[in-house]
Amino acid sequence: METVVFALLNGLIYGLLLFMLSSGLTLIFSMMGVLNMAHASFYMLGAYFAFTLGQSTGFWFALFLAPICVGAVGACVERWGLRRIHAGGHVGELLFTFGLAYVIEELVKIIWGKFAVAYEVPAELNFSLFELYGAQYPAYRMFMLLVSITMLAGLWYLLKRTRIGLIIQASLTHPHMVSHLGHNVPRIFMLVFAAGCALAGLSGVIGGNYLVTEPSMAFSIGPIVFVVVVVGGMGSLAGAFVASLLIGFLQTFAISIDANFAEIFSFAGLNPEGDLGRITISSLAPMLPFMLLVLMLMLRPRGLMGEREF
């Protein structure tokens, strides 16, 4: 029982962190029609910016300032990079963002070094919030949950309840018509790109100190975010939300299951001895999202809630 409760809580937190990353990527995909390969790099920048800014302003200012800085970097990338390449088709955009991911990683190595930096959970939140089944539950995880839910509610409100949200949604599907109504669609695209990057930055700020802030962090989470977007359905925010939680739960549950194949084999009446039997379920956890991706592409290429296929 306690395993289930912990896995549920941690899965929810990890899933919401993934959603914060994938929501921006999904919005940007709907807009450009191509995956932004550098999206996780903005997540990394969020963590590093928060680390550096935090040293002078403290964590709480950095929590707001770092995503804004990441958003500004994103706006520049769109305005002076992607917008020029956009006319040349999707391959150019894909290669551009692919190259950008490497450039950002190398820049991070030059500026902050090749090893992890000491970006830590702020002292104010570094305590145990409650005790559950005899184990201490860190307050910071609850804080992550709170930030994620606030972000989720804010994004929903912006997109569904405001005029600018309506304009954004209409621009994603009917950009020509929206510009004929007098709305500056290129500027809207720049803002959406910047906001998507800022969300990735925010997840870096709250995830970087919880996980680890190092130059390879973008490449370790990036593929999982792509899995979320594909499984959820390209361009569907609701799909990305469901898929984020699904993968969050799937991974945390797999990690928390203390069993190996030998037990399953012997339960099924097979020979439990041998190399296969020694594999633990938890060691499969990193592979599960990608298995899900392969299955999804085979069985339902448009994803859970997507409208377009590959």
């Binding site: 005029r163 309506l166 304009i167 949604q169 209409a170 599907t173 009917h174 020509h176 018509m177 929206v178 510009s179 004929h180 109504l181 007098g182 709305h183 500056n184 669609v185 290129p186």
Partner: protein, 239 residues
């Protein structure tokens, strides 16, 4: 000194446009006088819709397009719309997932300015739209979608509206309704460039007629004069 006389809303000189290597518009000259309904007729594929798209900046134009005395050739679409040029494209591009009301809301360019028409005015004018104000626009009939796209453009308070093929694929009764709506808009002081294939509706509501063929204007006159020109009709319009 403005290039356009006060009576002209839109003045086009030597307009060329290309789709890749194909030369679609080959020097179009035309004028839309202030407060008038001007019809642009022609068979399919002669460049009528491309003319509309070139004016609106959706297809890159070469040549001069003067709107209210300002050369808008080469401006981005949103800047052209901001100057007061409305466009209702031929595909009745409603935002299908959004309600009728939200579609109208998006037609407003600047929420801070006083509106000439409010959303409720529009809905009052069209009982069909009013009863479906909160339904997604995607489920409306073809005629209702057409009314909605025209009304949405009106929300932006344009001085000139280019309406591309508003009656295509609509039942005769609805065609009459759309014709009445266009006449009413013109009465309210909005100039109209009507891009049409149906002669009956165009000749009924327009004061000026242009006929296009092979990317050029091949005839210009009043509807009365045009009615007498069977030669033009046979050569350039009949299928």
């Amino acid at each position: 000194m403005s290039e356009t006389a006060a009576s002209e809303m839109l003045k086009i000189r030597g307009l060329h446009a290309y789709y890749g290597k194909s030369h679609v518009l080959r020097g179009v000259d035309m004028d839309v006088p202030k407060g008038s309904v001007t019809a642009l007729l022609g068979r399919n594929g002669v460049g009528r819709s491309t003319t509309a798209k070139a004016i609106m900046g959706e297809v890159a134009p070469k040549g001069d397009i003067w709107f209210k005395g300002k050369n808008i050739s080469g401006l981005p679409s949103h800047a052209i719309a901001q100057l007061g040029l409305g466009y209702v494209p031929e595909n009745r591009d409603v935002f299908p997932m959004m309600s009728v009301r939200d579609n109208l809301l998006l037609g407003i360019k600047d929420m801070r300015k006083a509106l000439k028409w409010t959303i409720d005015d529009m809905l009052d004018m069209f009982p069909n739209l009013k009863s479906r104000a909160d339904t997604p626009a995607g489920v409306l009939s073809g005629g209702e979608k057409q009314m909605l796209t025209i009304c949405r453009t009106l929300m932006g308070d344009p001085d000139l509206i280019i309406i591309d093929e508003p009656t295509e694929g609509l039942a005769p009764k609805i065609v009459t309704q759309v014709g009445q709506l266009i006449t009413e808009i013109a009465k309210a002081g909005v100039s109209i460039l009507l891009v049409e294939q149906k002669l009956s509706i165009a000749l009924k509501i327009a004061q000026h007629v242009y006929v296009m063929g092979h990317g050029e204007i091949v005839y210009h006159g009043s509807p009365e004069e045009f009615r007498k020109r069977d030669d033009i009709r046979r050569e350039w319009l009949e299928v």
